[in-house]
Amino acid sequence: MYTRLVRWIDDRLMVSPLWRDMADHPVPAHVNPSERVSAFVYCFGGVTFLLIIAQFITGMFLAMYYVPDIVNSYNSTKYLMHHVLFGLQLLSMHNWGSSLIIIMVTLHMLRIYWMGVYKKPRELNWLVGVTLLILILAFGFTGYLLPWDEKAYFATQVGVSFAKYVPFIGPALQKILSGGNNIGAATLTRFFAIHVLFLPALLIAFLGLHFLMIRRQGITGPY
């Protein structure tokens, strides 16, 4: 039954060769934690990716309750925390997830740096990786504003104020970021859109590049 289904799909889409190519792709044994326990250092990147998927899922569920305007964002967050079944756990997972991702990304970068993985031919993937780091920090910064409590408001005020020091375009940049002269209603919707639409799109694109390059270049051998 299963074989017939696969054959039926394959007759039309030829998925098997793609799948076989991915599944049979040889991975050096020295990165496998069951061969050598110390190989877990090769997992930090993969774990980060898994945590990013977890963030996507918890984020989608949070968006079911969150209302991005200055009257309701605080109240909807409060409602989620106190009245929604598992709402507080959901928010907690999203909150902890951001911290764990920062830790895992740092460990991943340290491993890359320590082993000199970015050397030829992998220079370009390092550039993509640093861009991913900046995107992840941008996720953290924009997400911090969304509950719209005092911590969120004043930290964002401080953060956005740094933009004004960029030469020539500083004041304009600050205005674009906050959607006006102050942190207010426009800032909140803007940060919400950046956090849930712009950044995920960019993140997926750059993750795709990251993985394609790893596939093309392979994993570095031991020294």
Binding site: A54, N95, I134, E150, Y153
Partner: protein, 240 residues
């Protein structure tokens, strides 16, 4: 792929010391990943984020704090900005606030092009080892210093609010207070704002909070922001 081919491939992989991505590699990596997800899940059961008072742009008493991984940014600009102004370079703010961070980000991007060593071992790449040590010390120092500075600021905050909002009329332990808040009654007597040195043993925290929010007696409505009241109530309650 038939069984014969499969066996052939398994033999070839074994000779090369490699394993197929699926299932040999990914399943084992997923085990490590599931541990991370389990950690996330357990943390989320026991430690929850807190929601503060709703954002109030007029709250002058609130001490802002970034997320833990941004403490170093805030503290670097704080400390750097202080010395920058001591040196009289305020006019060239953009060097500290833009050029320095831009050089930092550029350095991070250019790591593969800075590292010209043929060796991959870090100990054989002294410049890269030095850069790493510098980066770690930089992040570590400014993060720790940022947390310390924030704690000091929050600890001093109640007393500063008392000085700016209460000490004009009241005094504690011989400090503050003058004739400003004195009221003359119709019968010609003077009523002075009470000494708050022992207010904690006279009023309960709830009574103190009520008095701050809706003052009774001769005290004017101060419209204290929420963060100020949150800081003042425990501060005054501890004056016993």
């Amino acid at each position: 792929m038939n069984d014969h081919e499969h066996e052939h491939k398994a033999k070839e992989y074994q000779d090369k010391g490699v394993v197929p991505f699926w299932p040999e590699h990914l399943l084992k990596e997923l085990v490590v990943g599931l541990v991370a997800i389990a950690v996330l899940f357990v943390f989320s059961l026991f430690v929850h984020p807190s929601l503060g008072h709703v954002a109030d742009p007029g709250d002058w008493a609130y001490v802002p704090a970034p997320d833990w991984y941004f403490y170093w940014v805030e503290n670097f600009f704080d400390v750097g900005g202080y010395y920058w102004s001591v040196l009289g370079l305020v006019k060239y703010d953009w060097i500290l606030m833009f050029l320095v961070p831009a050089i930092g980000v550029a350095t991070l991007y250019l790591v593969p092009f800075i590292d010209r060593y043929p060796e991959r071992r870090l100990l054989k790449r002294p410049l890269m080892l030095g850069l790493l040590m510098f980066g770690m010390l930089f992040l570590g120092y400014f993060t720790a210093n940022g947390v310390y500075a924030h704690d000091t600021l929050t600890a001093e905050e109640p007393y500063n609010i008392f000085k700016s909002s209460c000490a004009t009329c009241h005094y504690i332990q011989g400090l503050g207070g003058d004739q400003t808040g004195a009221v003359k009654t119709p019968t010609g007597q003077w009523i002075y704002p009470p000494d708050l040195s022992h207010v904690g043993s006279i009023l309960s925290p709830a009574q103190i909070q009520a008095q701050l929010e809706n003052p009774k007696g001769g005290m004017p409505q101060l419209n204290l922001p929420p963060a100020a009241i949150k800081d003042l109530v425990p501060f005054l309650s501890n004056l016993k």
